[in-house]
Symmetry: C2
DNA sequence: TGGTGGATGTCGCGT
DNA sequence: ACGCGACGTCCACCA
């Protein structure tokens, strides 16, 4: 029984299924009119409205409105959720400690409650992260600069770990900070902190700092100049100069389409 | 009709309701076994598994597994979603430009499809943000330092906007950076950037920088010292010294409870 | 458990 | 549209 659904259940019927599902480790979705109160790292209050509430077996709760990618309220994994009926109304409460946080969802009307058996899970494979950029640089250090020799990754300094530490053609220490996308001032400051820390380790050796990213903003460029730091433009993945390549077919007719010969 | 649900629909039946719902501006949830491909700012691939897919009328798509608060895949608001059936299988595609991004969800099995009419919406009221901390300081500048006089908020500098700009008792310029929670090295660097920028505006006036937050990490403390910056401990909301007050009742018995006299 | 930094971060606000 | 910084950021990793 992969999915159970109750249409416009009473609050008591909803309670029964909810507790069953919480016990089973099933994922639950609730849709209806509700209010939400949160207290913990901050405090928030949300008046009545129609929302989708998702309860995961790992303790996560999400409250979604019809807009935006982020939930309007939530509780992170590891929380304990509990359902009850007060004054004839369903209430879902989620709590945790460290930090102490509580979320209450009170339903005025329940349109639908579903419980899902979740069995399978695959791992996400992702390409284009900073990790991929690092691999690219280590494969071909010349992308940073001719004669650059990487010596360590995540090298510890008093200011924190340096993405890539190495030497330039002249044998001077080089600190490389990697970013997978266009960067702002904070990246320049981060690099500067690392360079200062390494500079204290290697006095009078003229430690250099190089920011490697697809691009930088103007203000960041100025900041780098000011601090004597460099910038080198590299994309996180090889052929990716945002060339908008691919999509070689004029398909994608809108409307109601059933079956189609186009691959992809 | 606030909620429509199809239990184990055929892929074609699902298609019909999906397109109807996309057209109506209804919110949709799909549960079933699917694969997900994403290409855009990065590239990702997710093998078969049981997931909850949420499609919002504003163009948002979320793909949730049974774990974690963040969706394993998603598309932000403003995207265009479209459903089709290929080789007898439902596919939901979401696309946008700037940046060019595409998400494909292909279903192997559909356990449930629901469409919800979302009518009402209230605004979230939140307490304890940096904004609240700012109000606290402006109400009582002595929290920062005796004799501190705020002169401007969000004051522009070449390095960006300063949270609170003012003068100390001796008439020296003061840059205040606010953080609602315990801070790390990046906040110290941010303050330093602002102080340098203001210092260039007021040469030889000895511009001061003060970080106002609940607390700082050790390394950040050292960083502040090194740069001649100060730290002042202030909570974002008044009575909030994380005193763990309240909860003055031994209620909260677990288990199946229907109705209860406890308020709250 | 806390520190540190990445993220397809998202989001709002200003230019 | 881009720049910039906040966020109840979340999250993995590591001491």
């Amino acid at each position: 029984m992969p999915a159970t659904v109750l249409h416009r259940p009473t609050h008591r019927d909803a309670l029964v299924l909810l507790e069953e599902a919480f016990g089973d480790g099933r994922m639950v979705t609730l849709f209806g009119r509700c209010t939400v109160e949160y207290d913990g790292r901050a405090t928030s209050s949300l008046g009545p409205g129609d929302r989708l509430v998702v309860c995961k077996p790992d303790g996560t709760i999400l409250v979604h409105t019809d807009e935006k990618r982020k939930p309007v309220n939530w509780q992170p994994p590891g929380c304990t959720h509990r359902a009850s009926v007060r004054d004839g109304r369903l209430r879902v409460r989620s709590e945790r400690t460290t930090p102490a946080e509580r979320l209450d969802v009170r339903f005025e009307r329940i349109d639908q409650l579903s419980a899902y058996e979740v069995t399978d899970r695959s791992d996400l494979e992702l390409l284009g992260s900073e990790e991929d950029l690092r691999r690219r640089i280590l494969d071909d250090p010349g992308l940073v600069e001719d004669g650059f020799v990487p010596q360590a990754t995540e090298r510890e300094t008093t200011a924190g770990p340096v993405d890539i530490f190495g030497e330039d053609a002249a044998g001077r220490p080089v600190v490389v900070e990697l970013k997978r996308r266009r960067v702002g001032p904070s990246a320049a400051s981060q690099l500067q902190r690392y360079v200062e820390a390494v500079d204290a380790e290697f006095p009078d050796e003229g430690v250099r700092g190089i920011l490697v990213a697809p691009s930088v903003t103007d203000r960041t460029e100025a900041l780098l100049d000011e601090k004597g730091l460099s910038f080198v433009a590299v994309e996180p993945v090889a052929g990716d100069e945002r060339s908008d390549s691919g999509d070689g077919g004029g398909d994608e007719n809108g409307g109601h389409e059933e079956d189609g010969n186009e691959e992809n």
